[in-house]
């Protein structure tokens, strides 16, 4: 098992390396340089280009970038926050995103898993029907539509929640926006997973022993149906992160997602690259963690 985990870790590291390389070379393929938009003279542009080392051969720049990454140095922002180190922008902004993201993740799990159990418990009855329809709608509505509707209803019409982040209760709407998709997805996943487990023999034994249906579902069946749910935790992180792009820019949260969106519109390439690599590393790490956790929970599963 240890050998398999090591192989899995190596694969993750390799994936990350590939992503870093792809992003680096793609960014350099973009015609022009970051200082084109500025009203700079030829000489001052040349000075800037020399200052950032952009006149060196691409491979040298690549080597320098990789060496920098090892020290946590991702260069400096060219446009949005000129001269500020990407690594500090990323860490500062990420701290804000994490505060929202973790709460959204908890909300999604605390809503989705029990609701999925309820749907499985009442299979083909009214609560199941309601939950299936709502969760299907929930995974079909784009995030910014949810954000817009929330905003329209709670901030504009009812005036019970503030429009932007930073005021008291300002976090509620962004968190809900982030949690809707994963919560609905988890409901469907838990339901499917629990129904699969429910047919198994050991649960018949539990019932034969006289256990109530509630205990059977929530304690015995849920434990074994956790496996697909754990696998989903990696994609779940990814979905909360990408959801963050939308929620943070709609509600003006100074998190990493908003930086990414702004960096795209400002074509701030180093910042785009820094954020991409950071997100990629995070997602790859979460997937790795899930794979390992997955095996701890269910020893029958082999990781490849």
């Amino acid at each position: 098992m240890a050998e398999k985990i090591i192989r899995r870790v190596l694969l993750a590291a390799f994936s990350l390396f590939v992503i870093i390389s792809i992003t680096f070379f793609l960014m350099n393929l973009i015609p022009g340089d970051p200082f084109m938009s500025e009203k700079a003279t030829e000489e001052s542009r040349a000075v800037l280009i020399a200052k950032y080392g952009l006149d060196q051969p691409l491979l040298v720049q690549y080597g320098k970038y990789l060496a920098g990454l090892f020290h946590g140095d991702m260069g400096t922002s060219y446009v949005l926050q000129k001269g500020r180190a990407i690594s500090t922008i990323v860490t500062d902004a990420f701290a804000v995103s994490v505060k929202l993201g973790i709460r959204a993740l908890l909300l999604a799990v605390l809503l989705g898993v029990p609701l999925g159990c309820v749907a499985g418990f009442f299979k083909d009855k009214l609560p199941d029907g309601i939950l299936r329809v709502t969760s299907a709608i929930g995974i079909s509505v784009p995030g910014y539509v949810i954000a817009a509707v929330l905003m329209l209803v709670f901030a504009v019409k009812l005036r019970i929640l503030p429009v932007s982040y930073g005021r008291p209760m300002g976090e509620i709407m962004p968190i809900v926006t982030l949690a809707v998709y994963p919560a609905c997805y988890l409901t469907r996943l838990t339901r499917a997973s629990i129904l699969e487990v429910l047919g198994q023999d050991y649960l018949k034994t539990e019932r034969a022993k006289g256990m109530s249906e509630l205990v059977v579902i929530f304690i015995h069946a849920l434990k074994n149906s956790l496996v697909p749910i754990i696998t989903y935790l990696g994609p779940l992180t990814a979905s909360i992160l990408t959801g963050g792009f939308v929620a943070e820019s709609v509600f003006n949260v100074p998190g990493l997602g908003r930086y990414f969106v702004n960096a795209i519109s400002a074509r701030d390439y180093t910042l785009i690259m820094g954020v991409t690599i950071f997100y990629a590393a995070l997602i790859i790490f979460m997937n790795l963690l899930c794979d390992i956790l997955y095996q701890v929970v269910d020893p029958r599963i082999k990781i490849g």
């Binding site: 792809i22 793609l26 299907a136 079909s140 509505v141 910014y144 539509v145 990408t242 939308v246 519109s265």
Partner: protein, 331 residues
């Protein structure tokens, strides 16, 4: 003991049969009954049939609608700016006085195109890659699957953005300078970029599924039997592998459609989707975001349409998967 005189062998028993005597009989009945059974299962699924109806209605709306409307999607009607829904403009008009109903129809067309073309791309690349990997096996399979693992771990949305930014300019130049690509110009490089990215990244899921199926089927006794009877590789692929995988393939491809529409909407939100004045449902909704407090109606129609489309495709895809692959049925 059987005496040769007891075995009545007639002269015609020794003649070779017609070339496809058994083949046609065997495989055709099986194929028809499989599809028929699947169709019946689908018909019995009320949710799936309702979704299919919704999909067809939306198709009609977007295919025929624009030609019935007196306006065109890019036409700016002076004096009619910022109109709330009325009889002349059922969905209202936008800031520039463009009729939102026509724009929604065109937008639906674009969103559906994105969804369907992406699904086809994924289906083709994924199934070729997966079946080659599964059939060849050995070292080739190992390397091909490691590549899949790497692509799989790439956060697609991020790379879509990066690739899109990179290929945008060269692509626009290519499209405007090559005469036979002219029709694509109207679509905008944004859409083409989405297809390219889909072709680059999203096929991995499909490739994994196909490979898994191929590996599983390779071990099946009836396949071994067919091989023992002298069936060639192409025969095995055409008559055994494809009919057995097709259900799951179609269902997975079907579920790719809503996911592509979702992605397109997300890219439009970031401002890198279709280029104006072309509209997609995603770009219409994200344009409406800025005027949300004063003109919420601009948001409501495209948002409702896009949600409805994704919902219908999701539900229909689920139904299709259950119908085509009862083994996989999870409820």
């Amino acid at each position: 003991m059987i005496l040769s005189s007891q075995l009545k062998i007639r002269e015609e028993d020794l003649l070779p049969l017609e070339r496809d005597y058994y083949r046609d009989e065997g495989s055709n009945t099986q194929e028809i009954s499989f599809l028929k059974a699947a169709w019946q299962r689908l018909l019995a699924n009320r949710i799936a049939m309702c979704s299919l109806l919704v999909i067809l209605l939306i198709l009609l709306f977007s295919a025929i609608g624009p030609s019935l409307s007196p306006y065109s999607y890019e036409q700016q009607i002076y004096g009619d700016e910022n109109m709330p829904p009325s009889w002349t403009h059922p969905f209202g008009t936008d800031r520039l006085g463009r009729d939102l109903m026509v724009r929604c129809m065109i937008g639906t067309r674009i969103s559906l195109t994105v969804g369907i073309i992406s699904a086809v791309i994924v289906l083709i690349i994924g199934s070729i890659y997966g079946s080659v990997s599964g059939l060849v096996g050995g070292k080739v399979d190992l390397i091909m699957m490691r590549i899949v693992d790497v692509v799989y771990s790439v956060p697609e949305i991020l790379l879509i953005v990066v690739i899109k930014l990179v290929i945008d300019e060269p692509l626009t130049r290519l499209v405007t300078s090559t005469p036979f690509l002219k029709p694509l110009q109207k679509m905008g490089s944004g859409l083409i970029a989405i297809f390219i990215v889909y072709g680059c990244l999203y096929w991995v899921g499909m490739a994994r599924i196909v490979r898994g199926q191929v590996l599983q089927l390779k071990e099946m006794e009836y396949v071994t039997a067919a091989e023992a009877l002298g069936a060639g590789k192409s025969w095995l692929i055409r008559k055994h592998l494809i009919p057995n995988c097709i259900g799951q393939l179609i269902a997975t491809a079907m579920l790719q459609i809503p996911s592509a529409i979702f992605t397109e909407a997300f890219l439009s939100f970031l401002g890198i989707g279709v280029s104006a004045p072309m509209a997609s449902l995603g770009s219409l909704t994200s344009e409406a975001l800025s005027g949300l407090t004063t003109a919420p109606y601009r948001m409501i129609f495209p948002a409702a349409l896009i949600s409805l489309i994704i919902l219908a495709f999701n539900l229909f895809g689920d139904g299709l998967r259950d119908a085509l692959d009862p083994k996989m049925k999870k409820r």
